[in-house]
Symmetry: C2
Subunit: 403 residues, 2 copies
C-alpha cells in the first residue's frame, strides 16, 4: 500500500475541497434523496479528465471537454436521474447553463466549471427546478458524503475513499467518489468518478498519472459491455499540501501514481461488485502474458463473458468457458501451455483437463469474491480485471427502466 486509508474519507478529505448537494426531484425512488451537487476547490487548481469513447457524447461531456481545454476548472456541478444525452441543442444549452449557474454562485468564470450528468437518455433537464435549487446548495468540508449520495442512481451503496501519504515530508491526501451500476465497460469503466488531491502536481503529469491509474482500474472493470454516453473521470489537484510540484519520472511521481491507482482500484472494485443484480465480485488474474496489453485484454474478456458470468452466478466450475473467452480475446496464447485456476484449484494445466474436487470448486465459486486465474506461460506480464456475476435480476431490472 502506498497510502493509508482515512476513516470515513471522501472527496472532501483533501485540504481546500468543499462539496454539497440538494434535491431537485430528478430521482423518485427511495428516501432522503439527493440528485444535484457541487464539488469545488476553494483555491485555484489543476484539473485532468478522461471521458467516454462513445461517439454519442452527452451534452455535459462536450461542455466539460471544452472547459478543460479553454479554462482552469476548479469546480464541477453534477446531477443524477437525467443523463442529458441525445438531447440536441436544447440539451447543450442546458448543460452550459448549469456551468453558468454554478460559476455565478461560486464567483468563477463559467469556463472554470465542469458539468456531469447520469440517468435516463433522451430526456431534457427540468431547468426551472435546477435554477431554483442550485443556488441553495451549501458546500462544506464534510460535503463529500452528500455528493457521493447525489451522484448514484441504481447503485446499492455509495462509493468513496481517501488515502494519505508523505511527499517531501508533507502529508498529501487523495480522495474519490464514484457511481456505476449499469453500462459499465472499458473504456471507460465508470459512469462518474471525481478525484481530488491537495498535492501539488505538475499539470502535464497530472493527466499522465490519471491515465495510468485509470488503465489499471476503471478500464479493467466491466459489467455489461455497454459503454455510457456520459462516462467522466475527473481529477483536481490544488497544491495545498505544500509539497514541491510532483514531476514525471521521480520517486514522488511513483508514490503518487501508486496511491492514485489504489484509490481508483478501490472505487472500480466497488463499482464492479455493485453491477445491477450482481451477487459477487469476480476478480480475473491473467499472468504469463507476452505483453501488458495481452494480459489486460485477456482478463477483461474473461470478466465480461456472459457465459462465464452466468456460470459464476450458478457456482458452476465450467472452466471451458474461461478458456473459450480467453481464446476469442485476441491475447496471444497457446492452448497447450495454458493453466486455468479457480482460486488455487487447477482445472487445466498445460492444455489438459485436471481431475479436481468438484465440491471444493463449487465452494470457491460460492464466495463473495470469486478469483479466476489463467497462466499463459508466454511472458512476464500480468493484469487483473474485475466484473460481477450475471443474475436473473439484471434482466428483470433492465427490462423496465423507463416504463
Amino acid at each position: 500500500m502506498y497510502g493509508e486509508v482515512i476513516s470515513q474519507g471522501t472527496v472532501t478529505s483533501p485540504r481546500g475541497f468543499v462539496a454539497g448537494a440538494t434535491y431537485v426531484g430528478l430521482k423518485t425512488r427511495g428516501e432522503n434523496l439527493l440528485d444535484l451537487g457541487i464539488l469545488y476547490s476553494q483555491v485555484p487548481c489543476g484539473a485532468a479528465g478522461i471521458f467516454t469513447t462513445n461517439r454519442v457524447k452527452a451534452a455535459p461531456v462536450t461542455v466539460s471537454q471544452l472547459h478543460l481545454a479553454n479554462g482552469q476548472p476548479r469546480a464541477i456541478v453534477v446531477n443524477s436521474g437525467c443523463a442529458n444525452a441525445c438531447t440536441g441543442q436544447e440539451g447543450y444549452d442546458n448543460a452550459m447553463e448549469m456551468a453558468h449557474l454554478t460559476a455565478h454562485k461560486l464567483g468563477l468564470r463559467p469556463v472554470d466549471v465542469l458539468v456531469a450528468s447520469t440517468g435516463v437518455i433522451g430526456v431534457q433537464l427540468p431547468m426551472d427546478k435546477i435554477r431554483q435549487r442550485l443556488p441553495l446548495i451549501a458546500e462544506s468540508t464534510n460535503g463529500g458524503h452528500e455528493l457521493a449520495r447525489a451522484i448514484v442512481t441504481t447503485d446499492t451503496y455509495i462509493k468513496e475513499i481517501a488515502v494519505s501519504f508523505q511527499v517531501d515530508g508533507c502529508t498529501v491526501t487523495i480522495g474519490g467518489i464514484a457511481k456505476g451500476a449499469r453500462m459499465i465497460h472499458p473504456d471507460l469503466a465508470t459512469l462518474l468518478s471525481f478525484l481530488t488531491t491537495d498535492a501539488a502536481v505538475e499539470p502535464q503529469f497530472l493527466m499522465t498519472a490519471l491515465r495510468e491509474a485509470a488503465d489499471a482500474s476503471f478500464n479493467m472493470a466491466t459489467i455489461d459491455g455497454d459503454t455510457s454516453t456520459n462516462d467522466s473521470l475527473i481529477l483536481f489537484a490544488n497544491g495545498l499540501a505544500g509539497n514541491n510540484p510532483i514531476q514525471a519520472a521521480t520517486p514522488a511521481a511513483a508514490v503518487f501514481v501508486g496511491a492514485l491507482t489504489e484509490v481508483c482500484v478501490h472505487l472500480a472494485k466497488l463499482v464492479a461488485r455493485d453491477g445491477e443484480g450482481a451477487t459477487k465480485l469476480i476478480e480475473v488474474l491473467v499472468t504469463g502474458a507476452e505483453s501488458l496489453q495481452d494480459a489486460r485484454i485477456g482478463a477483461r474478456t474473461i470478466a465480461s463473458s456472459m457465459l462465464v458470468k452466468s456460470a459464476v452466478h450458478g457456482n458452476d466450475p465450467n472452466w471451458g468457458r474461461i478458456l473459450a473467452a480467453l481464446g476469442r480475446s485476441g491475447a496471444a496464447m497457446r492452448e497447450g501451455l495454458t493453466d486455468v485456476f479457480i482460486g488455487e484449484t487447477a482445472l487445466m494445466r498445460g492444455g489438459t483437463p485436471q481431475v479436481f474436487d468438484h465440491q471444493a470448486a463449487v465452494a470457491l465459486l460460492s464466495r463473495e469474491t470469486v478469483q479466476l486465474k489463467v497462466d499463459l506461460h508466454l511472458g512476464p506480464y500480468q493484469a487483473t480485471a474485475w466484473g460481477c456475476d450475471l443474475s436473473e435480476e439484471y434482466v428483470t431490472f433492465n427490462s423496465d427502466y423507463t416504463t
Copy 2:
C-alpha cells in the same frame, strides 16, 4: 427470392447426398434422442469450410481444417453432447479416430472425412460407444431430418431448409441444416451448419461464395457475444445437377450466391430466434452508412447490446440504448444526422428526440419479430443483423449447465 423453397427440404434434398444418425448416449435429456450422425455425398464433390476464429480450437476443427487442406472431403461425421474441446492429445486422437471409423464404413480415405462436435467443453468422448454405434448408422436420402435432430443441443427446434433454382436450364438445389442456441456471435455466428448442393461449382469460387453468404448471414447473427471453440460451416457441392461449373463474376454466380445467402439467412435467423431463453427475434437494420463494414458493425453491436436486448425483452422503448450501442460500435456516425426507429415509428430524427405514441411503440416491441432501424444519413450502405432478447431464463439456463 433467388430460390424456391422446397417443402420439407433439408440437407439431403440435393441429389446424391445421404445422411443418417444414431444414439450413443451423449445427450441425456428428452426422448427419441440422436447424437451421432453422418452426411455423405455418394459421388466425389467439392468442399469449403469456415471455422471458429477462437484461438482455442476444438480437436474436430483442427482435424477438419487439415483434411480440407489435404484431402477431397465428401463426408462429415458429427456428434452433439460433447464438444471434444480442451481435451489435449487424447481429444485429437479421438477426433481422428472418428474420421477413420467413418472412412472405413463408407469406403473413403480418412482424409476425405470432416469431423464436427458440439456440447460441453473439457470432457473426453466415450470412444467405446462411438466405435460400437457409428458403423450401425443407416444413411438415406431422407436422412437429413435425422441429422438435423442429431446436431442440436439446447435448441428448441431443428433448423433446416432447401431451395431450388435454375442454372443453365438445369434445376439446382441447395440444402442446409444448423444448430445454435449458445455462444453464438460473429465470427462465426453458428456452432454448426452443413450445406449441400448438387450444383457444379468451380472449386475456388465455392469458397468465395460460402464466405460471401456467411458474411451476410451467420456473421450477422448474435446471441451472447461468446465465440465457440467449435464453430464449423461446411458446404459440399457434388455437381449432379449437370450444369456447367459455376465461375466467379458470371450471372450464374450471382444467382448461386443469392440463393446460398437466402439459405444461410434463413438458418441464421432460426439460430438467432432460438437463443437460450429468447422470446423474440430482433432484426436490426442500419442504413445510410459510409461503408458496408460500418453498416454491419453498427447493426451487430446494437443487436448484441445487453441493454438493448433487455429493453426489448421488457417491451421498453428505451431508444437511447440503441444510440449508445451504435456510438460505441466504431461505425462512422454523426449524432445530429441520425434517425432511430422502432418498426416505422421514429423515436429520434436528426439527433433530436421525437414525441411518439408510447403505447404504439410498446405494441411494436411486443411482436415476435422486433424491427429496429437506424438511418445514419452518411452514405449508401446498409446491413441487417439478427439477435434475440435477453430473458431471465438465459441466466437460469446458463447457471447450471455442467452441474
